[in-house]
């Protein structure tokens, strides 16, 4: 007898949360999911607007067997991976210095975080001004006699290895990882290291066995974000990369914008492959990271 109102209340409570989430969830599902669904459809050859109604995998076979696609995929992966690893390592190194109290440590910490609110596009322009062969560094080096002409400066921008792209990403992402690590270090305090120290751990051992395990979860989650971001980033490789090879997002957008609408299903196929590869890599990375932390 008493169970009926109880059950009713439980059902009501159970429904409350989904109902409250519904508006936000609906927006995401319709706009994001809808977009993916349309893209998936086009990549599979379903594009009624230009008279394509047959489902086919031919776009995927075309894309995946194209040698240029694989070159772009490798470039995209390499840029994302190098950025992720380097930004994590550099951020750890920087924060270890920054948390020490030294003369000017406050201003240094501030400068370290300056890149955070700067848009990626601005960062890219800055890099161009700085390190192209006609850039500031090349001119200064020539002026002080380190080089004969600015053209002797190595081609870092518009180069096939994507050095300028990686540099721009690093300039933006190192402070991001650093911010997370600094927050962890602040909440943890020096006490664990002091405890380890009285137990006989030297500086290297304290870093390896105490500090690193404490900050690794934070580094792992930010590095996943960075990998996903750089892997799919469009504007930086477009601005700072060479025409060929381009990263996959650039290739996909170029084909998407092509006046020949028949290229669009291929662009969609590239995007879907990009997304799937990114997801697979992230899953693998998480697995690896978890076992590494343990």
């Amino acid at each position: 007898m008493t169970s009926t109102p109880m059950t009713a209340r439980r059902i009501r409570n159970g429904l409350k949360i989904p109902l409250m989430l519904a508006p936000a969830l609906g927006l995401v599902v319709v706009l994001f999911g809808g977009g993916i669904l349309v893209g998936l459809g086009q990549s599979l050859g379903y594009f009624p607007a230009i008279g394509l109604n047959e489902f086919t995998f031919s776009n995927y076979t075309t894309v995946l067997t194209d040698r240029n696609f694989l070159i772009s995929l490798w470039l995209t992966f390499r840029i994302a991976a190098v950025t992720t690893v380097l930004s994590s390592v550099l951020a750890i190194a920087f924060t270890l210095v920054l948390r020490e109290k030294f003369a000017g440590s406050k201003i240094t910490t501030f400068l370290f975080q300056v890149p955070l609110p700067v848009p990626h596009l601005v960062a890219a322009s800055g890099i161009i001004l700085l390190i192209t062969q006609s850039g500031l560094i090349a001119r200064i080096a020539t002026a002080v006699g380190l080089m004969d002409t600015p053209a002797d400066f190595p081609a870092l921008v518009f180069d096939k290895g994507g050095v300028a792209i990686i540099l721009t990403f690093l300039w933006k992402e190192v402070p991001f990882v650093g911010l997370v690590i600094l927050a962890i270090l602040q909440s943890v305090g020096p006490q664990y290291e002091e405890q380890a120290r009285t137990l006989g751990a030297n500086a290297r051992q304290r870093f390896r066995h105490v500090l690193l395990p404490l900050i690794m979860p934070g580094v792992m989650s930010t590095s996943i974000i960075i990998f996903a971001f750089t892997f799919a980033n469009y504007e930086i490789p477009l601005l700072l990369g060479v025409r060929f090879p381009s990263t996959l997002p650039v290739v996909a957008f170029r084909e998407y914008q092509d006046p020949d609408l028949a290229l669009r299903p291929q662009a969609m196929a590239i995007s879907i492959v990009l997304a799937v590869v990114a997801i697979l890599l992230l899953i693998a990375y998480r697995r690896l990271a978890r076992s590494a932390v343990k």
């Binding site: 006490q191 664990y192 002091e194 405890q195 380890a196 120290r197 009285t198 137990l199 006989g200 751990a201 030297n202 051992q205 066995h209 105490v210 395990p213 404490l214 932390v293």
Partner: protein, 367 residues
């Protein structure tokens, strides 16, 4: 087993002097308590012994050798912090075995010693638990085991029981005391709780404002506090001013006889004290010595006794009266200050309030 000597240790933080010219010799195998209110410099002293901070001046010796140039990680002074600070990424066995791993002791020996030490702290078989799966008392034991396993030269405990509830604290006191005795380890612990210091330590070192006030066996702080401040910290606020001539203190309420000590204390203005539990109530007809009149100002029934507040002249005194004691505010009672329990204390208040007290002392001398 190591003897620890602190020689003229001082530590300044900017303008603030945290510890001032501290001298103390701690014997091998001894358990010493640094006691004092928060901010008195006791934890700073402990951290200087570990090497986590350096003294501004003075020297620290282990077995007669200065350790100031030995870094913390090689000093062998292991600290157990107030927060138990178990490494959150490790399980119990990894936490306890941490020091051995750092010293590159083999896995087999580590496992063996971890098992042994966990039995010693009464936590057998908990090797695989994570720190957050343990209760506060268990965490404290793991922290203790982690320190003991490296066989420290000196074991340092910073308010080790402060975060535990009352019952657990008593159990842990016994555990720490018995392990320390059994292993014959030199141990120093910091506490603000005088009861804890008295129960655990062979000797107590009481500090106020960075200055060592009195060092001695626990009972000395009750029988012969050196100053009014020391007496107050041990919950004795009964002071009576007078003028000493030989073994007699002449006060406004009559002469009080004391046991003349072998120490030569100069005649002159003095402050005497008797602990609340040693003052006795006597009836009118007595003709004993050391009986003074007092006026009752409050009575609080405490169950096992009655806490009586009186004024002698105009000085308030606390007295532990029998539970059945009855009186009204304003009643006059007669107090016996047993000769063996009267002690002379140096007057801290003179030092702080300066000339006013000095004038008072001079005035009574003229009288």
């Amino acid at each position: 087993m190591t003897a620890v000597s602190l020689r003229h240790i001082s530590r300044r933080f900017g303008d603030h002097v945290a510890v001032r010219d501290l001298n103390l010799d701690i014997e091998s195998g001894e358990m010493v308590a640094f006691l004092g209110p928060s901010g008195c410099g006791k934890t700073t002293t402990l951290r200087m012994i570990t090497g986590l901070i350096e003294p501004s001046s003075g020297d620290i010796l282990f077995d007669g050798e200065s350790v100031l140039s030995t870094p913390t990680e090689r000093r062998g002074a292991v600290m157990v912090f107030q927060k138990h600070l178990l490494f959150p990424t490790m399980n119990v066995a990894q936490n306890v075995g941490f020091g051995l791993k750092m010293a590159r002791v083999s896995r087999e020996e580590t496992a063996e010693r971890v098992k042994e030490i966990l039995e010693l702290v009464d936590l057998p078989g908990l090797e695989d638990r994570k720190a957050h799966e343990l209760s506060g008392g268990q965490q404290q034991r793991v922290a203790l085991a982690r320190a003991l396993i490296v066989r420290p030269k000196v074991l340092l405990l910073d308010e080790p029981l402060a975060n535990l509830d009352a019952n657990l604290r008593i159990t842990m006191r016994h555990l720490i005391r018995s392990i320390q005795k059994e292993m014959g380890i030199t141990a120093i612990f910091v506490t603000h709780d005088q009861e804890e210091a008295v129960m655990l330590a062979d000797r107590v070192a009481l500090m106020f404002d960075g200055v060592l006030q009195q060092v001695g066996a626990p009972d000395e702080f009750f029988r012969t506090p050196r100053t009014t401040g020391v007496a107050r910290f041990f919950r004795n606020g009964n002071f009576l001013r007078g003028h000493r001539r030989g073994s007699t203190i002449h006060t406004d309420v009559g002469p009080i006889e004391i046991v003349s000590t072998s120490e030569t204390v100069e005649d002159g203005p003095s402050v005497l004290t008797v602990r609340p539990e040693e003052v006795r109530l006597v009836n009118e007809e007595t003709d004993q010595e050391n009986v003074v009149p007092a006026v009752v100002t409050s009575l609080i029934y405490m169950g096992s006794h009655t806490q009586l507040t009186v004024t002698i002249g105009d000085t308030p005194w606390q007295i532990q009266a029998p539970a059945a004691f009855q009186a009204r505010n304003g009643d006059t009672v007669r107090l016996l200050l047993p000769r063996g329990h009267v002690s002379i204390v140096a007057d801290d208040d003179t030092a702080t309030t300066g000339s006013a007290e000095a004038t008072l002392a001079e005035g009574s001398a003229v009288l």
